[in-house]
Amino acid sequence: MFAYVSRRLIQSIFVMLTVSLLAFAMFRFVGDPIAVMVGQETSIEDQERLREQLGLNDPVIQQYGRFVSNLLTGEFGFSYRTRQPIGEMLLERAPATIELGIVSLLISLIVGIPAGIYTALRNDGFLSQTILITTLVGISIPTFVIGIFLIYLFGVQLGWLPTFGRGEVTEIGWWKSSFFSIKGLEALILPAITLGIYQLTLTMRLVRSEMQDVLNTDFIKFAVARGINYRSIHYHHALRNSMVPVITIIGLQFGGVIAFSIVTESVFQWPGMGLLFLESIRYVDIPVMAVYLVIIALVFVVINLIVDMLYFAIDPRVRLQPEAG
């Protein structure tokens, strides 16, 4: 157990170091930070003083070290564009993205997993084929087009649901939540569906193919030959085995949801981190881009660690392997 966890932990640290190196390189070498920070009229001497002050003349390694330790202590620096501290900007927008992400992930799992199981078990059924063709269409329609169609249908034609912003939010400390008012929930519906559909089709297709793989294994055939009832074969034997790889992908998907929220947030003018990132790209606001990159990577790494722990719980082959083996 300890060896397993520590090995994963070391790998995660490696990933984070690489990403932070990338972020640092962006921050330091894409454009001149000083030129962006100061106005045209600042003298060369003043610029040089500022450069010295900010430690930009130090050895690169030292600068990188400072960059990492700043990140660790939550010092994310300042935005070029708004001059605000990046940490505050992100914190303010994080709840919007996280809530949107969680709801759409839930949609994708609650619909995707049962649909995947169903289509795997009834491969040739009419409903199965219909679902499969729908999902092929689903992965082929770009997220933003889905969003636009939903806006057109429910916003413009039917006028049932709001099409931009978060509507009403309830403040719990600094966390602004959509969950506690009808208006907030209404505003959440379209963006969450938009973001969820792509993940849903992915989940469904994955569950289906894993389940089909498992149904083809010898141990399932043996279970059939022993006359175990089909309900148990499908839901006890097969489903459990197909969940092992599915969990990995679902872990990756959460990160995917956060990243894809960039598009959804743009379509619905949803005031989350994705919109912030998009603005930072448009205005070449490198520090915000760099920090966003690090944060997304961190989300991934943490989720992957959790997934590895889940593996440990589900699969006895991981749990009970000899320590040295």
Partner: protein
């Protein structure tokens, strides 16, 4: 005894785009209670399909076209899927080939056994549990009370197959279909499992249908046997009679092709025709001047070591240690010793048979000689000169031409994306053995004919040939480098018996004609007996015995060799 199973006029068909394919044709099988009935045949004989038909589990889109299946006097052919499923486990059960894959890896043995028992009888969990423990003990698992709590991956291969048998038995079926139940196991374990099946059949008077390609297994435990070919029954009868006095032509040929453990034959006689019928234009296609005679002359020209009494290959105190490679393994790992202090020499012009079970290190030895594996200690001398190990051997080293190898699996040893001409031509090109392209073509065509393939084969891709034909191409590729030493690593273990006999004949002929020195590696004692002049036995990386072939087979000295010899199912008939 009463009739348990009566299959009459069974025909199983698969619609394919080439038309309807009959996997089993008008077959009859009768089985008494407690009888072990063998179904034997080569690949494509339809043996597994029969098992599936009885289980009611013919994979889509196959179906039973004609015939009837009666179990205990009642027809089960027209049962609905639901009724049939109730029968499975309760009346008929099955044992699969590979114990590695036939148990659910995420459930404990307890969960799997108890679930199966309670599926078919209305007993409490505790009763089912104690019955399960009892069954595991009966199938030879010691300490069953604690082991039942473990997961399948914590059992060894042989133990797992015992668990599989316990699972098949736990519902007390009348009939068990065992599809190649010992093929994935080593000889010693195979013997134990076969003994177990025999014991259970008698004690519980369960009928067994034992599907296998191995005549040895058939002769070891079956009461009666059906010989099948291409879905058709060739011959049926009591095992001893069918094996000893076959009346059918195919059965006779099959028996003649089985390598015998008790005596060495010069050649296998009465071999079946090659399976693929070649049309006349195929045979008429020739490269100018190409002929088997040209091939033999060409192979005998060129630089050659003058044969003397010295061994071709002399291995001294060879050690091979595998270290586990990992990102986070520091310091000196103990490693795993695949070969431990092995000394061996192969005399010029002779065949040394190297015997070993899986994991004995026999392939590691071959790989050390050809430079794919780097030994950690010891020395290999080839024609009196020390061979460089592993990557230290340069790509231009002369021994790369002089030592050639024929691999086990002809389906993986030929590159499917290259024409046969390019496959055989690669060594010629690489070693610069031909003056020009025309000569190269002539050599390739001639060599193909030497290994009894039509010259036109050079224009095709490997997937257009059967296993036996592929192995001939692989032999041609090894020969064309004009080797002085040939390593054959299980060259026939992936082939059917009749094809094996053909390839062994070919190797024998080539060895005699060109005086090749061969290291012949096999797990099959009978095959080694037919091929080798001398024998060496490897066990877990240690050489336990070496000696002259006849004296070895008449009286092996090492206990392990004795065990191997006694537990190999012999087709003495």
């Amino acid at each position: 005894m009463s009739l348990l199973l009566n299959v009459t006029d069974l025909t199983v068909e698969y619609p394919t785009r080439f038309g309807t394919f009959q996997a089993v044709k008008n077959l009859d099988i009768r089985l008494e209670q407690g009888e072990i009935h063998g179904l034997v045949g080569e690949s494509g004989a339809g043996k597994s399909t029969i098992g599936q038909a009885i289980m009611g589990l013919i994979p889509n889109p196959g179906y039973i076209a004609t015939g009837d299946i009666e179990l205990n006097g009642e027809s089960i052919r027209d049962l609905s899927q639901t009724q049939y499923h109730k029968l499975r486990g309760a009346k008929i059960s099955m044992i699969f080939q590979d114990p590695q894959t036939s148990l659910n890896p995420l459930l404990t043995v307890e969960e799997q056994l108890v679930e199966t028992i309670r599926q078919h009888s209305n007993v409490s969990y505790d009763d089912a549990f104690s019955k399960a423990v009892g069954l595991l003990e009966e199938t030879g698992i010691s300490d069953a009370k604690t082991r039942i709590l473990e997961y399948p991956h914590q059992f060894s291969g042989g133990m797992r197959q015992r668990v599989v048998i316990a699972l098949a038995l736990c519902t007390e079926p009348d009939l068990i279909i065992a599809d190649e139940p010992t093929t994935a196991l080593d000889v010693a374990i195979q013997k134990q499992i076969l003994d177990l099946i025999k014991h259970l059949a008698k004690k519980r008077s369960v009928g067994f249908i034992l599907i296998t390609h191995d005549i040895g297994v058939i002769s070891e435990i079956t009461d009666r046997v059906s010989v099948l070919r291409n879905g058709e029954l060739q011959e049926v009868g009591p095992t001893r009679i069918v094996l000893q006095r076959p009346t059918n032509e195919y059965t006779k040929a099959l028996m003649a092709a089985v390598p015998r453990l008790d005596k060495k034959l010069d050649r296998f006689a009465n071999i079946l025709d090659d399976e693929v019928q070649l049309s006349t234009p195929e045979l008429l296609w020739k490269v100018d001047g190409a002929s088997p005679e040209f091939a033999s002359n060409w192979l005998l020209t060129g630089e050659r070591h003058e044969s003397d009494d010295k061994p071709v290959l002399d291995i001294q105190n060879l050690d091979v240690t595998y270290f586990k490679k990992g990102m986070f393994s520091f310091g000196n790992d103990e490693g795993f010793k695949a070969l431990d202090d092995v000394s061996l020499s192969i005399p010029a012009g002779k065949v040394l048979g190297l015997i070993g079970e899986s994991g004995s290190g026999k392939s590691t030895l071959a790989k050390s000689i050809v430079g794919l594996v780097r030994p950690s200690a010891g020395q290999i001398e080839f024609l009196g000169e020390a061979l460089k190990f592993g990557k230290a051997r340069s790509r231009q080293d002369a021994t790369r031409r002089k030592i050639q190898m024929v691999f086990q699996d002809p389906y993986s040893s030929l590159n499917n994306r290259r024409k046969v001409e390019d496959i055989i031509g690669e060594p010629i090109r690489f070693f610069g053995l031909a003056k020009d392209a025309a000569e190269q073509r002539k050599i390739i065509a001639s060599i193909l004919e030497l290994v009894e393939m039509p010259q036109r084969a050079m224009l095709k891709y490997p997937h257009q040939f059967s296993g036996g034909q592929r192995q001939r191409i692989a032999v041609a590729r090894a020969l064309v480098a004009r080797p002085e030493f040939l390593i054959c690593d299980e060259p026939t273990s992936a082939l059917d018996v009749s094809i094996q006999a053909q390839i062994l004949n070919l190797l024998k002929d080539l060895q005699a004609q060109f005086g090749l020195s061969i290291l012949f590696i096999s797990h099959n004692l009978a095959v080694v007996r037919q091929m080798a002049d001398e024998v060496a036995v490897l066990k877990n990386g240690i050489l336990v015995e070496k000696g002259e072939v006849e004296s070895f087979f008449s009286g092996p000295k090492d206990p392990y060799s004795q065990l191997l010899l006694s537990e190999t199912p012999s087709a003495d008939f």
